[in-house]
């Protein structure tokens, strides 16, 4: 039960956070240069977008769940299992956003699921 909660938090909060950050960065606009002053300005601009705060909050939740999982398991087990976010994302897209997931994407999702199963089976 503890493991289910930890991995669900890592997957759900992590993916949600990434999507929010991705959305925020589209609002902020392209980074024109990598000079430190420019990067800082870009980050400050990003912090004015509410999506960024929501995204960072969700990523923080995922981070602490990750720390918890890493205290129980090897990193070479924990991180591959978090790839389940692709499976969750495909089903979530169909269920909540009514996306039409192409056969090719289902193939990729199936491969990820098979890979995570192998990682579980290979836990020695």
């Amino acid at each position: 039960m503890r493991d289910v909660i930890l991995f669900s938090l890592i997957v759900a909060a992590g993916t949600g956070g990434e999507l929010c950050v991705s959305r925020a960065m589209k609002v902020v606009g392209e980074a024109k240069s990598f000079r430190p002053a420019e990067v800082v300005k870009l980050i400050l601009r990003a912090l004015r977008v509410p999506w960024m705060w929501l995204g960072v909050g969700m990523m923080a939740v995922a981070f602490f769940a990750l720390l918890g999982a890493l205290s129980f398991y090897n990193v070479s087990f924990v991180v591959p299992v978090t790839a389940l976010s692709y499976v969750a994302g495909a089903f979530g897209g169909v269920a909540f956003l009514r996306e039409h997931v192409s056969p090719r994407r289902w193939l990729g999702v199936l491969l990820v699921a098979v890979g995570v199963t192998l990682v579980f089976l290979g836990q020695s």
């Binding site: 980074a31 870009l42 720390l67 918890g68 990193v75 956003l97 192409s102 990820v112 290979g122």
Partner: protein, 148 residues
């Protein structure tokens, strides 16, 4: 053409930073958490002590710094490149994390787990190479007008 070449170059550079810094951060966190001892989260005072113990570890802070590097590279690349382009490229990170876990922490990675990680990388790659927009969009012109 040179502008597009430069765009490709900085995109690949940022993805390379992501693929190294992200897994390195995770492995450093793992290194820290292996020495963190008992993780009590209740009562709140115990949670406070646990947090103090965890954040007193140098490798946790190095891991956090590495993940921040990853995060900044990720933010920068997403400001010009599509999520659906960045995602398949970053599938390499799953292999890198297992490799670093093996090299830096001496984790035993069984052949079956290596196989699983390889299949995950291929799967993530295939997911990312699909059409990023799967919902029908009939108001593209309207959206462009709204942005203008």
């Amino acid at each position: 053409m040179t502008a597009s070449k430069a765009l490709h170059l900085k995109t690949y550079f940022m993805i390379a930073v992501m693929v190294v810094a992200g897994p390195l951060g995770n492995v450093l966190l793992a290194k820290g958490m292996k020495h963190s001892g008992d993780l009590a989260i209740w009562p709140p005072l115990a949670l406070f002590h646990t947090a103090l113990n965890v954040f007193a570890l140098g490798s946790i802070w190095l891991g956090v710094a590495s993940l921040i590097t990853f995060f900044v590279a990720y933010m920068l690349v997403l400001s010009w490149a599509d999520y659906s382009f960045v995602q398949p490229a970053s599938s390499l990170a799953y292999g890198v994390v297992a490799l670093l876990g093996y090299l830096m922490l001496g984790e035993q990675v069984s052949p079956l787990r290596w196989a699983g990680i390889a299949v995950i990388c291929i799967g993530v790659f295939v997911v990312g190479r699909t059409d990023p927009r799967t919902t029908r969009h009939e108001t593209a012109g309207q959206e462009a007008a709204e942005q203008a």
